[in-house]
Amino acid sequence: MIELANFSYSRDGREILRDLSFVVARRERVAIIGPNGAGKTTLLNCINRILRGGRGRIAVGGRPLAAYGQAELARRIAYVPQAHGRTAPFTVREFVEMSRYPHLGPLAPAGSQDAAAVRRALDDLGTTALADRSLDALSGGERQKAYLAAALAQEAEILLLDEPTAHLDPRHRAEILRTLMRVHQERELTILFVTHDINEALAAADRVLALRDGALAFDGLASRLTEGGALKAVFSHDFVVAPHPRTGRAVVFPE
């Protein structure tokens, strides 16, 4: 579904991504982790072509990224930025409706199919009751859900999320993660998400990509991340790994 081959990206003379090669299969849930400044957000932005250029190849659905028109790419990839700190003077409904842009012709009005996609996205995130409220008046958790609903209304098969649970309280974090798992199943999505929380990556991803100084330091099943000093190699820090008392799944604590 997404393929990177020897991809590097530089800005201001500094190489931010170095020689990345990996393939993300259809319906995979992939977490991207790494220390601050490792290039995680840059990687998402390159796959989404928010950042252009770079050496090497990125292909989506077997076609090079450069072969896509902007709207055509948006019909395949939806992006959820960090909602924290963003302002938007629109109601939730207006905001979600805007995501239908890549499906509409120039000047063509939205049709019943678009209205149905918006309704479904609002329902999926439990945000129908918020539809007429201003985005700027929502709490952090509600706003993150609205951003997620907007991305779902885009009806793309690939979902890129940049720290979807950052700045949220534990209840909202769990809620967002549960919702992500559910829509992944129901809509058969391919999901790549950036996170700073290793336990979140272990809980919500099938596979983990770890970046360090722009290079791929780990690429494997989430369950293998806690084995053989992989975490220390990525973060240059010691971690304690213990089984979760209820589920038995590995949980990571920084030393």
Partner: protein
């Protein structure tokens, strides 16, 4: 959408009544040669400046962004000042030199600002606004220089023009401003959805399928066209581009498919109303309309600043 229709109808009614405002009787000649053209010019100028202001505010995600903030008005004013100083009166393909000089100045200013803002490492909104402020200071200084080296009557004409005004005889000025405002507004109407998405940030707009570079160029070009065309004939009338969009936003919200038509009609009405005040406040003498808009705009600007400041 109902609110937009109401605003459009009320604005149109206000503009239609404006030629008859403040006089007991009106001769046919005065009506057709002075009042009607003046109201039409005021409407077009107000609409153009308000639409340009709305466009800049959305693109830069900054409520204080105006044609002035980006130096586009100052550039246009400098172009027109040079044309006035040199006494150029020729026209090209029916477009008077004053319009071309205004448009040229606006375009040079825009290209400077756009060039700086799209240089590597400077692609942020803050840089764009700072570049606009720098361009504004630069062109204002050039205007001062041209005024200084002019003789007494030339300086007076430039100074009077810089105060802004809608005095006109016959339909010539209206016909000159009309294509600039209508074509620019049409482009903004057509790109209302892109404008909505650009309000969310360029990264999100691109991820929703907007060709950001193209949309930015079209919207920038449309706003510049309107500002250049209006400023050349009416002088740099301030604050309309800031106040009218904000008042409309309070009335109809920020969705540009509703906000753009509301701003077009209300902006036009707003300037016509300000001109009515300018005509009558010390009648039979007249105050330049730019003085009235600035007197209203100054407190409004402060109110916006205070409203945005955290407690």
């Amino acid at each position: 959408m109902k609110k937009v229709v109401v605003i459009a109808l009320l604005s149109a009614a206000g503009v239609a009544a404006a030629p008859f405002f403040g006089v007991a009787s009106l001769s046919t000649t005065v009506f057709w040669e002075l009042r009607l053209p003046r109201v039409a010019l005021g409407f077009l100028a107000g609409s153009g400046l308000a639409m340009a202001g709305m466009t800049f505010q959305a693109m830069f995600r900054n409520p204080l962004a105006t044609p002035f903030t980006l130096g586009v008005s100052s550039g246009a004013a400098f172009g027109a000042t040079v044309a006035i100083r040199m006494g150029w009166t020729f026209s090209v393909l029916g477009i008077p030199c004053l319009s071309l000089a205004g448009l040229g100045g606006a375009l040079v200013s825009l290209l400077l600002v756009y060039g700086v803002a799209t240089m590597p490492r400077t692609s942020s909104t803050a840089v764009l606004l700072l570049a606009g402020a720098a361009a504004s200071f630069f062109f204002s200084s050039l205007i001062l220089f041209v005024t200084y080296v002019s003789d007494f009557s030339g300086s007076f004409r430039i100074l009077r023009w810089l105060m802004g005004g809608l005095e006109t005889v016959g339909g010539g000025a209206v016909l000159n401003v009309f294509p600039f405002v209508i074509s620019g507004s049409a482009a903004v109407f057509c790109f209302a959805r892109e404008l909505n998405l650009l309000t969310l940030g360029e990264d999100l707009a691109a991820s929703r399928g907007v060709n950001v570079g193209y949309a930015r160029a079209v919207l920038f070009g449309a706003a510049t066209l309107m500002v250049g065309g209006v400023v050349a004939f009416c002088g740099p009338i301030g604050f309309v581009g800031m106040m009218a969009p904000h008042i409309c936003r309070l009335l109809v919200g920020s969705e540009h498919r509703a906000l753009a038509p509301a701003t077009f009609f209300f902006g036009g009405f707003f300037l016509v109303a300000c001109d009515g005040i300018a005509r009558l406040i010390i009648a039979p003498a007249e105050v330049p309309v730019g003085v009235i808009t600035a007197l209203l705009g100054g407190p409004f600007f402060v109110w916006l600043l205070v409203r945005r400041s955290p407690a």
